[in-house]
């Protein structure tokens, strides 16, 4: 009767995990496509305002970012500060110099859009100063960063 029964241990077979890497890779690719790299480590608060007419920035390579907000580090005081790349700028007068140094090969400051990422609680004085600095070097294309929805 027990023609097919051969002795030996009978246990629950292990789960086949050979498809696991595929699943994980799929997740990986999803995240690679759907997300973007962080540009900098923020050192200022950045609560962006909402503007439903905002348009996504497409050519991110030709955009410089200036962050303005209240310093997260309490030692830096409570006045709004400007962050250029990874550092807090001592004051707004260095903005034009920084912008000129960032100029790409064969392009003038005029060609590169400057995106202002500003905390919505910051007063306009500092923003206005930065804009004047940018005007001085003809970097007149700017973009006020805002979220499209809440």
């Amino acid at each position: 009767m027990s023609k097919f029964k051969k002795g030996g241990k009978k246990g629950i077979p292990g789960v086949n995990t050979s498809a696991l890497p595929d699943i994980i890779f799929m997740l990986l690719f999803f995240f690679m496509v759907a997300t973007t790299m962080k540009e900098v480590e923020l050192q200022v608060t950045l609560e962006k305002p909402v503007a439903n007419q905002a348009i996504p920035i497409e050519d991110k390579d030709n955009v410089d970012f200036i962050y303005i907000g209240f310093p997260i580090d309490a030692e830096e005081g409570t006045e709004p500060r400007i962050q250029l790349d990874d550092r807090l700028a001592p004051d707004y007068t260095v903005v034009s110099l920084w912008k000129e140094q960032k100029a790409r090969e064969g392009k003038t400051p005029f060609d590169i859009v400057t995106s202002l990422k500003v905390d919505e609680n910051v007063g306009m004085r500092i923003v206005s100063n930065v804009k004047e600095e940018l005007r001085d070097i003809d970097a007149i294309k700017i973009n006020y960063s805002a979220d499209q929805t809440k």
């Binding site: 890497p21 759907a34 997300t35 348009i55 995106s115 306009m124 004085r125 001085d136 003809d138 973009n143």
Partner: protein, 238 residues
């Protein structure tokens, strides 16, 4: 010779490697899309004119935002929510007929003859000053206006007064949030009017226009003439 069975590669750690990559990407990337309102600041002039030509009061919509984020439009305190209506009226009050009793900018008819005259005028001027950016710009504008005339019934269309402008004054403590909110409202008005205009002229949908497509560029140029977005921001007084 005995056939040796090829050992299968152990793929068990593949999942671990993939996990590691996945976690790396999760940590270093962000989901948010970068969006914003694009603006072009006024170019700095080498020799700015000392006196500006007078602008009729009716052509200026004066918006002031103070340090407490309160709004004043044309000497009256208003709420932010009312601004859309006010700005919309500013653009459209005299769109059909000029009514001298309404204190809003007039619309002037542009005719085909006028365009032709101006085009000849600027072409002549360009011959004496070749390479002048301002003249080139004006010539371009009038050529677009000429096309607009051709597309319009009766070969003529109406254009808002040349000096119609929104004057947006802020103070040094006005919050950036309010500043953007107001710019957003003004942009909404302009965009809504441009959408209407696209409908009326039977052009493509405004939001589908592609800035890199030559045909669409021509439409955008015309829309900028029909519904201009002119905002001036005086310097903050300290």
């Amino acid at each position: 010779m005995a056939r040796r069975k090829i050992e299968e590669i152990n793929a068990g750690s593949m999942a671990d490697i993939a996990f590691l990559l996945l976690i790396f990407f999760l940590v270093t990337t962000t989901m948010e899309v970068d969006a914003g309102l694009g603006k072009t600041l006024p170019l700095k002039l080498d020799d700015p004119p000392i006196t500006n030509p007078p602008v009729p009061e009716r052509n200026v919509l004066e918006i002031k935002a103070n340090l407490n984020d309160k709004l004043m439009v044309e000497q009256e305190e208003v709420q932010v929510e009312e601004l859309y209506e006010i700005a919309y009226t500013f653009y459209t009050a005299n769109r059909i007929n000029n009514d001298e009793n309404i204190n809003m900018p007039n619309y002037n008819p542009i005719t085909l003859d006028q365009c032709n005259d101006q085009i000849i005028n600027y072409k002549n001027q360009l011959q004496t000053h070749p390479g002048d950016k301002y003249l080139k710009n004006e010539l371009n504008k009038w050529q677009a206006k000429r096309e607009l005339c051709m597309e319009s019934p009766n070969k003529s269309y109406k254009e808002i007064a040349k000096s119609a402008v929104v004057k947006f004054e802020i103070q040094s403590k006005t919050s950036y949030g309010l500043y953007i909110e107001i710019h957003n409202i003004l942009k909404t008005v302009v965009n809504d009017l441009r959408v209407d205009m696209c409908d009326k002229m039977k052009w493509d949908d405004y939001y589908e226009l592609n800035e890199n497509d030559p045909d669409d560029q021509a439409i955008i140029k015309k829309l900028r003439i029909l519904v201009p977005e002119r905002i001036i921001e005086p310097k903050i007084e300290s």
